[in-house]
Symmetry: C2
Subunit: 340 residues, 2 copies
DNA sequence: TGCAGTCATGTAACCGGTTACGGACGGTCT
DNA sequence: AGACCGTCCGTAACCGGTTACATGACTGCA
């Protein structure tokens, strides 16, 4: 039994396809008796409208494309979850396509979305903007998440990485740290760059005269471990660590502790993101409400699709410093709040 | 500038739409000169084929529907990641739709997918099968993940929860536990039920004569904490805990430790899932390779779409016991391997 | 020269919906 | 009776692709 179409229903209800369409879509210019016949026929045939055909003729797909890099557990999960929540609230589907790092997959993925989504959410913290601009069909509404730069022509939503980094450094200095090491993220990543930038600015401001210390990393836990080993072999007076993300902070924390270094007494540690694990390890960090970013991104895109005008094009999500055990003694939690 | 269509390209290249289609799709019955003209015209117009129209006429969408309950962080993330990886490898998109617990959303979501996906992956550990069967368009290939029962007519993939539970209990008994408490998951959840079932069977087998102890939970961390508080107020000789998932195990672990109970010396603890955090808390658990399940599910569904016949309809994923600190002293790791 | 066969191309039907337009019908008002 | 209006419904065009079939040009061969 092939899938029933609207014409089958029409035949069965002895009306035209137009009437079927009208009846099923609740238009009011249909006699009640006709509507009933149509509905009955549809049920008997198990008719389900063909969404693809519908969206072709309406030129409206009720779907949003989501193009993400191959990112890690929590971030991916939370982002998509937030998006999905808002999307289903607004009656949209999410069409997912990971754009693996290979790069040239991005244009392909974007092209393949044309004609099946009404708008697109792109997260590409490492893709050069001109490439993005070129790959995005210019007529397809898009919203950029953490794009490397704020393309003036495209709305975007970003994390205020500098503000987060500054808050973290301010806090570390506040509890007495002076020689603070920054474990950086990958250079091509915009978040990583901004966090480093924030670190430098904050050091200049809150710890003037103390020279910044950088350890290159890649957002992976191993980088944090490497940084820790480096410190263990030559401490250089480091009494504080600010990692560009939680995973590196955790790698560092675990390795230092395993080597008997007292955290936070000898070295205080802060991360960035507030992954769920951070709470368990009592890691001080800059909380980024990822799901919220996803929701907000979808909400803004859908608003635009539905014709609502936007006041602000480039939004910034403010991270929130969460002080925990790795920067505060067991009962000195509130000390941190007053610090500095 | 409205989006260019194939007819625009045809006009510009001074050929028919048929030739454009042939040229761009790489059919060989096109003169090279014509193909070049078409490609040039397409580039000049920035032509991107309309995937919706294409899939309508080919009756093939190159997309898979994914219907998931509103599940938690890691699980969701890993599952979708695995699916996405395999899907993009096979040239398919993923169309996501969380079916929130409200229940009657499921049929709606499934209906809306008709005509825009070629097949569907459904994860519904709590939806009664007859409802599923009724909601699934019978012509749409579907693969069930952790469905409450194995619907004989639908291929499925499941976790072998009983095997996992048995391995955990066997291990706990092996290291000397006798009075083992099971913190159960929600009753309507099939995984939870099977894990409890496995617990009972394993107790009967490995600890005969010792009566099983059940604490009702809901997969949330708080349930583990409640179980711990219960134990703290009346220990009843409990020397081992097997939680139906890691989050409850973690809640229990943290609460017991906070109260000064020595883990694993006084009470050993094992969980289920192996969420990333488990490693950091050194939690013994039954590892479920979630991403692998997602990959496998997509692979099987795509195989079927492409006409490959299936030998096994109902597959079971085998969890793997990972022994860590919550059931073994610092240097007694391998002891566990020999235990019993 | 005429005919079959090959190749490139165009015409139009089709996928499954939506909807502009117009026709048929019945009622109301002058 | 005739003009006018409103309601309900059917015909057919359309969304943007693919493709079966027809057409015409060209080749090779008798």
């Amino acid at each position: 039994m092939a899938e029933a179409t609207i014409r089958d229903v029409a035949r069965r209800a002895k009306v035209s396809v137009a009437s079927v369409s009208r009846a099923l879509n609740g238009l009011n210019n249909v006699r009640q008796a006709t509507r009933d016949r149509v509905i009955a026929a549809a049920n008997e045939l198990g008719y389900v409208p063909h969404a693809g055909a519908r969206s072709l003729s309406l030129s409206r797909a009720n779907a949003l494309g989501v193009v993400l890099p191959d990112l890690h557990g929590e971030f991916f999960s939370e982002l998509v979850r937030g998006m999905d929540r808002e999307a289903s609230r607004r009656g949209y589907f999410l069409l997912l396509s990971n754009m693996h790092a290979e790069g040239d997959q991005a244009p392909t993925a974007l092209r393949a979305m044309h004609g099946r989504v009404d708008g697109i959410l792109v997260m590409a913290p490492h893709v050069p903007p001109e490439m993005l601009e070129q790959a995005l069909p210019s007529t397809l509404p898009a919203l950029l998440i953490n794009a490397p730069v704020e393309v003036p022509t495209r709305p975007s939503i970003r994390i205020d990485n500098e503000a987060g980094a500054q808050a973290a450094i301010r806090h570390l200095v506040g509890i007495g740290c002076r020689r603070i090491l920054h474990i950086a993220g990958p250079e091509e990543n915009i978040d990583a760059r901004e966090r480093a930038e924030g670190y430098f600015k904050a050091m200049a401001r809150y710890a003037p005269g103390i020279e910044p210390l950088l350890f290159p990393g890649n957002f992976e836990e191993e980088a944090g471990e490497a940084a820790a080993r480096d410190m263990l072999s030559d401490r250089r007076g480091v009494d504080g660590v600010f990692a560009a993300n939680d995973m590196m902070a955790i790698g560092c924390l675990q390795t230092l502790r395993a080597a008997g270094v007292q955290v936070p007494d000898e070295v205080a540690i802060a991360g960035f993101d507030d992954v769920p694990m951070a709470r368990y390890l009592s890691l001080t960090t800059c909380r980024v409400r990822i799901a919220e970013i996803g929701e907000r991104a979808v909400a803004r895109l859908v608003d635009r699709l539905e014709g609502k005008i936007e006041r602000v094009l480039n939004e910034r999500h403010q991270p929130e410093l969460v002080v925990r055990g790795t920067t505060a003694g067991a009962n000195s939690d509130e000390m941190a709040e007053h610090g500095l």
